[in-house]
């Protein structure tokens, strides 16, 4: 009788160890995603199924149970790491590493082979089948890309934002005034800032292209009493009042 094979468990342990290393030192999303996703969604469940010795009758059953157990392990991990104050990338990597390693050791000690039937390549696979599958993936990716493009191009509302922030947000003794255009074309404006009705600053012929932001900080004298600052935006083409905002300048 040949010794049971534990190659996939060894691979799982190597995978978990690599994840600990990558989660600690790498910022590469692709590397981390390739290692991290199977670790959260499958590997600990598979190792535990083997470790505990739960027998499944088909590959589908094994996969479904492994995912379910991995989910439960992840949830338990969240609760445990929260108590330890360790809900960090390194904490997660260590958690999954410990579970995978522990379960794999249990499986090795049990001297039982994997009991599912290995997946075999279906008979009759032709080249055009592969081409059709690849084309399907390509078209689906295209559909997703199209949806992303349409979403980013959607702009039902065209508008211009005007704001004025009081000293509490702009800084002591200062007002922050800003204009941002989300129009389809460049527009020109005059901006007038007043304090208690007295003109404080005027900015003429501000030209704002679509997506452009214009901001200024304006110093204001701090008096004993509260003052009211106002900013009025006039559209140059008809000199009409387009937007108006205000801010409270608190007294000293």
């Amino acid at each position: 009788m040949s010794a049971p094979s534990h190659r996939e468990l060894l691979a799982a342990c190597v995978w978990a160890t690599a994840l600990v290393a990558v989660a600690t030192v790498s910022d590469n999303v692709l590397e981390r995603a390739v290692l991290g996703l199977p670790m959260v969604l499958f590997i600990p469940g598979h190792a535990l199924l083997r470790g505990v010795g739960i027998r499944t009758t088909s590959l589908a059953e094994h996969l479904a149970y492994a995912v379910g157990i991995s989910l439960a392990v992840g949830i338990a991990g969240g609760l445990v790491l929260n108590i330890l104050g360790f809900l960090t990338p390194f904490g997660w990597a260590i958690w999954f590493w410990a579970i995978t390693l522990g379960a794999s050791l249990m499986a090795v000690r049990r001297h039982e082979d994997a009991n599912w039937q290995p997946w075999s390549r279906p008979a009759g696979l032709r080249r055009w089948h592969g081409v059709a599958f690849a084309l399907s993936i390509l078209v689906t990716t295209g559909a997703y890309a199209l949806a992303v493009r349409d979403e980013s191009n959607q702009q039902q509302f065209k508008y211009v934002e005007l704001w004025m922030l009081p000293p509490a947000n702009a800084g002591p003794g200062q007002l922050s005034v800003g204009v941002r255009s989300a129009e389809a074309q460049t527009q020109r404006f005059n901006l007038e800032v007043t304090l208690n009705g007295q003109s404080l600053a005027i900015f003429r012929s501000l030209a704002l292209a679509p997506g452009e932001t214009w901001t200024r900080k304006i110093s204001v004298p701090v008096l004993a009493a509260n003052q009211k600052a106002e900013a009025r935006l006039y559209r140059l083409e008809d000199n009409s009042l387009y937007r108006s905002v205000s801010a409270l300048v608190p007294g000293s």
Partner: protein, 660 residues
């Protein structure tokens, strides 16, 4: 053998008797399906490849339909979108439900369909979450990523902090991979969808012993109105339901095990039940109901289980009930306060509906909201799907019961069941569970009971799937039925049932222009930009209040502390909707700790699609608020209008706090 009463079969076949015989023959418990699983043909890879291409083309059409909708071409959007949906569902359903298909092929095609339906949902909002509930969990996940702590309060979902499993798993992926929460959540949901259908297939296959019945049952389940959208949202039920059906599958498998393997299976069930207890309250309740009912049937069962088996079932039921209660006790969660009003209102609505049906005096109907009307064809498909489901239940109910009987056929099998003798309690339970379908429809029709009906449907469809699968395999496609109609019509009916699941999942599945008070359809770039502006220029964590949609955007994109109420007992809606700022509202703003009000003037453009602007419990508006009412804060001393983009205005009310 059919046991039709003798007086009906004897003598001349009078029209009435023929009619009764036909009805009894249709609903009767004869199991006529031939054992096709015993001679499975090889996997047809060519057909699979063609179906993959069809599904991809269908998704492209769906995406194009959304694009047309976004550009305001409604007719074109309808045409493209719905042709995409039909191309996606029809060929796959026809093949999956076909009589001679290999198990592996059915399994693969089910995966293909379920993942394609998931992509169908993703295409609606391909780069961000847009459902109301999705925002709640996204915000909780974002809080968890920021604070690295669990159980942070969630003002939008009181019970949310107690059920953080989805957020835990999502942030685990985010932490390990560096992906965004949206990407991590979407990948997790894709895996959950596949796991759900695999577990459901295994459950049905284990109970019926037939891959064909299992595949048809899974297909029918996709006709549930919650399957396509509600259960694929980034929300706790999407995870809860997967754990739930996994528990059902493992439990069904464990009944044939003995000794240590059974104990190990029990351990696995307990582990999954524990995970479920901290995932979602309602899914935990589903598991408790199911396992409780299995235990009940095992206990009252006459000739089947040994005392050990009954004890095993009772133990699992007790664990299923105890763990969620224990978790609630530990967390101090009062689920009754959360679910109680929904259940009470739903039942009241249903009772009123029935009373209204039989009463001569009809009360005046409340003002209706301008819900977008669905095209006639779409409504027809929904109605047809309900009708076909009802026909399937009628022709499958007794057959499904007969499947559970041991050694007897026909009406004798039903007598066995009535005599508490069956081979599998789960079959009996799931068959009876199908009764929940008509009840859920009644709730859904009662308006206020919609939410109960929706949730009830999720559980009832586990039974509906089984019963209709038995109906199709053992009656409509059974040995006795010959000809095109009986061979081809059932898969077509199944396709319509699945289509019904899509058409009934939401009022308007196609992307389009902004709508007032329409959750996903109210989320658009300008509102998102405004929320992002608050984070950039005011910093995160300011206390805001606004309408339902902008609150979500502020909390999600703006990372603001968005509140539902201005002050204890004074909801935001009251302050925003009143024509003038009344003294008590002024007092609430001055004494409360809200710092900013965000007013969306688009609320004055129309009545809300969902019937409310701020909260579901607000009085139904008969007209939109005037722009003047929304802008009443302009002239209040102490309130500054710090932001204006022509549609959305932000008021700084901190000056009122100083005055008070």
């Amino acid at each position: 053998m059919s046991l039709i009463p003798a007086q009906l079969t004897a003598g001349g076949a009078r029209p009435f008797q023929v009619w009764v015989q036909t009805i009894l023959g249709a609903i009767g418990p004869d199991l006529r399906g031939d054992n096709l699983d015993a001679r499975p043909p090889p996997v047809n890879l060519g057909l699979i490849a063609v179906l993959c291409l069809a599904a991809a083309a269908a998704l492209l059409l769906v995406a194009t339909g959304h694009g047309a909708g976004r550009r305001g071409h409604e007719t074109m959007a309808l045409l493209l979108f719905w042709s995409g949906v039909v191309i996606l569902i029809l060929p796959l359903s026809l093949r999956i439900a076909g009589p001679r298909v290999a198990r592996g092929e059915r399994f693969f095609l089910l995966f293909l369909l379920v993942e394609a339906l998931f992509l169908y949902k993703v295409l609606h909002s391909p780069t961000s979450f847009d459902g109301h509930d999705e925002f709640l969990h996204w915000i909780a996940a974002d809080d968890l990523m920021t604070a690295h702590r669990l159980f942070l309060p969630n003002p939008f979902l009181d019970v949310g902090p107690s059920y953080l499993a989805l957020e835990i798993l999502t942030t685990a992926i985010v932490n390990l991979t560096g992906l965004s929460i949206f990407a991590a959540g979407t990948l997790l949901l894709a895996v959950l969808r596949a796991t759900f259908v695999a577990a459901l297939f295994l459950l049905y296959e284990r109970l019926t012993g037939s891959a064909r019945l299992a595949a048809v049952g899974c297909l029918v389940y996709m006709g549930c109105s919650t399957f396509v959208l509600f259960e694929t949202m980034f929300s706790y039920e999407s995870l809860g339901l997967v754990l739930c059906v996994l528990i059902f599958a493992v439990e069904a498998t464990s009944r044939t095990l003995v000794g240590p393997p059974r104990l190990k299976a029990a351990g696995l069930i307990v582990l999954l039940l524990a995970a479920l207890a901290v995932t979602h309250h309602l899914s935990a309740a589903y598991a408790a109901i199911y396992l409780g009912a299995v235990a009940f049937f095992e206990v009252i069962h006459r000739n089947g289980p040994t005392r050990t088996e009954a004890r095993f079932a009772v133990f699992l039921a007790m664990v299923a009930v105890t763990l969620p209660l224990l978790w609630m006790e530990i967390r101090g969660t009062h689920i009754g306060n959360y679910l109680g009003p929904v259940v009470e209102s739903g039942i009241n609505n249903l009772v009123r509906k029935f009373h209204g049906l039989f009463s001569l005096h009809h009360s005046a109907a409340p003002a209706s909201s301008p819900s977008p009307s669905e095209p006639f064809g779409i409504r027809l498909i929904t109605l047809l799907a309900i009708l076909l489901t009802a026909v399937g239940l009628a022709t499958g109910f007794f057959r499904s019961l007969a499947l559970a009987a041991e050694g007897r056929t026909g009406w004798l099998a039903i007598r066995e069941i009535l005599g508490r003798r069956w081979r599998d309690s789960r079959l009996v339970l799931l068959t009876l569970l199908a009764f929940g379908f008509p009840v859920s429809i009644a709730f859904r029709l009662s308006g206020g009971g919609w939410e109960i009906g929706n949730r009830m449907g999720t559980l009832a469809f586990f039974g509906v799937g089984l019963v209709i699968a038995v109906s199709i395999v053992h009656y409509w496609q059974g040995r006795a039925q010959q000809g095109w109609w009986f061979r081809r019509a059932p898969p077509l009916a199944l396709a319509i049932i699945v289509l019904g699941g899509v058409t009934s999942s939401t009022i308007n599945p196609i992307q389009g222009h902004y709508k007032v008070g329409a959750d996903g359809h109210s989320v658009e770039p300008m509102g998102i930009d405004t929320a992002l502006w608050t984070k950039t220029w005011l910093g995160p964590g300011n206390r805001f209040t606004s309408d339902r949609i902008n609150r979500l955007l502020l909390a999600g994109y703006g990372r603001q502390d968005a509140r539902l109420a201005v002050f204890q007992g004074v909801d935001a809606g009251r302050v925003f909707m009143s024509k003038t700022l009344e003294p008590d509202e002024y007092w609430a703003l001055a004494k409360g700790d809200i710092e900013f009000l965000l007013v969306d003037l688009r609320l004055s453009m129309a009545l809300p699609v969902l019937g409310f602007y701020f909260e579901p419990w607000e009085p139904r508006a008969t007209a939109p608020p005037s722009a003047a009412a929304l802008l009443k804060f302009n002239n209040i001393k102490g309130i500054s209008r710090i932001y204006d983009n022509g549609y959305i205005v932000i008021y700084d009310v901190r000056g009122l706090h100083e005055r008070s």
